[in-house]
């Protein structure tokens, strides 16, 4: 909660920076604030049932704190990476404020205990992102991305709200635990519209995490938005949305899993197939990463499908979110620097092994991690997800996941091949700012360290 308040305060300070003329100091202030928010996370850690606020609408238990931690770490790296993105734009200060408010929404999504805070969290996170996606004012593609994101986001919110209203109509409460006790007490006599409500909630959340067949907006939005905003969308927003799904379906609706698990299994299967085949055909790297994020969404949904509320599955999701967020930060950081001249195709990576060996090495590690090759964190992320799935009745899904991952290796390797085995036309060196190089190298090292020593994070939760 203190972290939430600190971030909200930072957002307001960021808006004041233009008036009181301390724009130059803003980045250090924001970074300090994020560190402070992270520190308060540590102080609240392991207080049995967490501390709840606002009539139990928000509660920071260990699960919320762990995911807030991942979000804050990602945000810290992101802000350093975005250093010069903020400088080249005239409305620097507004961008800071918008990103910070989106973070507030993300933290709310990790800690909600009530449908009201779920809805508010999603909207507080999404509305700033609509603006940020469209923030290149004169670029029609960016405008289009923002517009599509807005329409699809609002449509998903509509479904979410209708689902919430139906569930409220049946149970008479917005509280997650009260809904759960309603389900346990009335398993046999629930009205039909309650089930409709649960399925609509599932559809809305699949829209938000862009799982197929509700993924069609994601490639367009990811491609059109400024690269760093895409990085924000595919790391922080994804993580936050997944905690929300985990909480909804493993806390409230776990007793009626026979209702939604078949639907979810189909969604996961479709996401795996569509995303991997489409990604293999893309020549635009940003678009390829968008499709790859859909396949990662499918993997994370598998944890929810396994529906074992145990330390195992929560650990698996924590590990996956961290590995995926850190890997994406590296990938988008490199892409941002390579595509400065506007070329986002794979050919932009040609000969990077010679033009900037360090960057090429980091990108290779990131790609291997996203593909799930051993010694990187991505391997253990997938491994933990598979172990949660093994005890359940969805063996066919497991086989499908492994097969489609093999296609995944193909398109990730395409970039590595372009970097090392193809020569570029002009042999110009890619220059990267020092702070950005530091972030990219640091996140690469983290990827390798938690890949070699997965137990550092792998056993965080004991229920």
């Amino acid at each position: 909660m203190k972290g939430l308040l600190i971030l909200s305060g930072l957002g307001i300070i960021a808006m004041l920076a233009e008036i009181f003329k301390f724009k130059k100091l803003l980045l250090p202030i924001v970074l300090l604030g994020i560190v402070a928010a992270y520190a308060t996370n540590f102080m609240d850690w392991n207080k049995n049932f967490g501390i709840s606020y606002f009539n139990n609408m928000i509660a920071f238990d260990n699960l919320a704190l762990a995911f807030s931690g991942i979000i804050l770490v990602t945000a810290f790296f992101w802000f350093i990476l975005a250093n010069d993105y903020f400088e080249e734009d005239s409305n620097t200060v507004d961008h800071f404020a918008l990103v910070l408010f989106a973070l507030v929404g993300a933290l709310m999504l990790t800690s909600f205990k009530n449908m009201t805070t779920l809805f508010l969290g999603i909207e507080i996170m999404s509305i700033p992102l609509y603006v940020l996606a469209a923030s290149k004012k004169n670029d029609v593609k960016s405008n289009e991305a923002g517009f599509k994101y807005l329409i699809m986001g609002s449509l998903a919110s509509g479904f979410l709200l209708f689902g919430i209203a139906l569930i409220y109509g049946a149970s008479g409460s917005f509280d997650l635990l009260e809904i759960k006790s309603y389900i346990t007490n009335n398993v046999a006599s629930m009205p039909a519209f309650f089930y409709v409500g649960v399925v609509m909630l599932l559809i809305a959340m699949c829209f938000k995490v862009s799982a197929a067949p509700f993924h069609f907006w994601a490639p367009d939005v990811y491609q059109g938005s400024p690269t760093l905003i895409t990085a924000l969308m595919s790391t922080i927003v994804k993580t936050a949305a997944f905690v929300a799904i985990l909480k909804l379906f493993m806390v409230s609706f776990s007793n009626i899993s026979q209702l939604w698990s078949a639907t979810l299994a189909v969604i996961i299967a479709l996401s795996l197939i569509i995303s991997n085949f489409s990604a293999a055909m893309q020549s635009n790297v940003k678009r390829m990463l968008a499709y790859s994020s859909i396949s990662h969404a499918a993997f994370m949904l598998m944890v929810v499908l396994a529906n074992v509320r145990s330390s195992l599955s929560v650990n698996a999701l924590v590990f996956y979110s961290l590995a995926y967020s850190i890997g994406s930060i590296v990938a988008f950081g490199v892409l941002y620097n390579v595509s400065r001249k506007g070329n986002e195709g794979i050919e932009a990576f040609n000969g990077l092994g010679k033009r900037n060996p360090l960057l090429a090495m980091c990108m290779s590690v990131a790609m291997l991690s996203l593909a799930g090759i051993p010694v990187t964190s991505g391997f253990f992320a997938k491994y933990f997800v598979f172990t949660t799935m093994i005890g359940t009745g969805y063996k066919w899904l497991l086989i499908l996941a492994v097969t489609t991952s093999a296609i995944g290796v193909y398109y990730y390797l395409k970039i590595i091949i372009a970097m090392y085995f193809k020569s570029s036309d002009g042999e110009e060196v890619v220059v990267v700012e020092k702070s950005q190089t530091l972030v990219i190298v640091l996140t690469t090292v983290i990827t390798l360290v938690i890949g070699i020593l997965p137990n550092l994070i792998g056993n965080m939760f004991e229920f």
Binding site: T116, L120, E144, K148, S154, L155, G158, L161, G169
Partner: protein, 103 residues
């Protein structure tokens, strides 16, 4: 039963409104109409929440409606800003013209 009318009628009315809104978002090509359809969806939800709240004698549903109204206003404000930006670049608000993002 609310004032002698069964809750099913409220449910039916708001479902019909919601479906009209959802179809409008997907089928219409004029951006302003799309925004209106989104408002229609949200207001269908508001209607449903208010009627359930009366049914349960519980005011939390009505409080939720205030949140939805506030958020819908924020969303439309952002939406119209993006729309005017698009109009400045493309000189049209037809969504068919927005198809620049392809592989």
């Amino acid at each position: 039963m609310i004032n002698g009318i069964s809750i099913n009628y409220y449910l039916l009315l708001s479902t019909v409104l919601f479906i009209i809104g959802a179809i409008g978002v997907m089928a219409r090509r004029n951006s302003i109409i799309i925004f209106m359809c989104i408002e229609l969806m949200l207001n269908a939800v508001n209607l449903l929440l208010v009627s359930f709240s009366t049914l349960h004698n519980d005011s939390s549903g009505q409080v939720f409606v205030f949140f939805i109204m506030a958020v819908a206003a924020a969303e439309v404000a952002v939406g119209l800003a993006i729309l005017s930006m698009i109009y400045r670049n493309v000189k049209s608000i037809d969504t068919d013209l927005l198809s620049n993002l392809k592989n």
